[in-house]
């Protein structure tokens, strides 16, 4: 579990790679969660993260996550909630 998000993430940000075009909006809004790779695609900032298409985030990031999902030009982001 990532130190940045605490023991219990509020949710996970799922990246649909077949849609993602690396336009950089999510990486601007969520600099603590996502950086950009060599080609501009979002990359989990935490290198230890096990699942790199399913980024855990904490309560503090809720609003920024919602903005990133709403503003993604390719609709590539989905929030997954714990069941």
């Amino acid at each position: 579990m990532s130190a940045a998000t605490g023991p219990e993430p509020a949710g996970h940000l799922h990246i649909n790679w077949t849609r993602c075009d690396g336009r950089g909006i999510c990486t601007e809004l969520l600099p603590s969660l996502l950086i950009r790779d060599d080609w501009g695609y979002p990359l989990a900032a935490d290198p230890e993260l096990a699942e790199k298409s399913r980024i855990p985030f904490g309560r503090a990031s809720e609003r920024d996550v919602a903005d990133a999902v709403a503003l993604c030009p390719r609709l590539a982001l989905t929030v997954l909630r714990p069941r």
């Binding site: 849609r19 075009d21 690396g22 336009r23 950089g24 909006i25 601007e28 809004l29 060599d38 080609w39 501009g40 903005d67 990133a68 503003l71 030009p73 390719r74 609709l75």
Partner: protein, 185 residues
């Protein structure tokens, strides 16, 4: 009162066109994936959307006031179906076409998440038709449409959208073009 409606109807049309022009240019900038000076990418997206929203508000005022206006003789059917108008039916009809296209673009934008990116994008491309049609409508139908000052403004707007369009077609348009060129074959 009628004079005020008439004047406001015309002015709101011109403002709407100006805002649409700005929105189209910003939309092309959004597609490039680049930030604008101090504005980050997400802010450029938000400005694009908000400018479009204001353009729509003025478009609504433009159509609404002219429906109340006795000179324009605009009927409800003319708002939806083009080329049936009593006055300058062709030029007025272009405005109706633009309005219909704008309605389609707005509807698909609001329902983007439900429709998926494919339909959204396909309909969004209609703005490249919408904008020149709206400009022609302004020049051909507007009372001042062929006046020197308006033509100059229209020319400036056309230059802005045309320039942005040419940039859109250039090979280095995308911010990621340089990063992704070596490996892509």
């Amino acid at each position: 009162m009628d004079e005020a409606l008439w004047a406001f109807g015309r002015a709101s049309g011109a403002v709407s066109l100006a805002l649409f022009t700005l929105s189209v240019v910003l939309g092309i900038l959004v597609r490039s994936g680049r930030p604008l000076l101090v504005l980050p990418r997400f802010a450029v997206t938000l400005v694009h959307r908000n400018v479009a929203l204001f353009a729509l508000i003025f478009l609504g005022l433009h159509v609404g006031t002219l429906m109340l206006d006795p000179y324009a003789q605009l009927r409800l059917v003319d708002v939806v179906v083009p080329f049936l108008g009593a006055v300058k039916p062709f030029w007025q009809g272009l405005g109706t076409v633009a309005l219909d296209l704008a309605a389609a673009v707005v509807a698909t934008s609001l329902l983007r998440r439900r429709l998926g990116p494919g339909i959204f994008r396909a309909v969004h491309w209609l703005t490249y038709v919408l904008w020149p049609v709206a400009l022609l409508h302004a020049v051909g139908n507007g009372t001042d449409g062929t006046s020197k000052w308006f033509l100059l403004l229209a020319l400036a707007a056309a230059a802005a959208v045309g320039g942005a369009g040419l940039w859109r077609l250039s090979p280095r348009f995308l911010e990621s073009a340089r990063l992704r060129q070596e490996e892509a074959s």
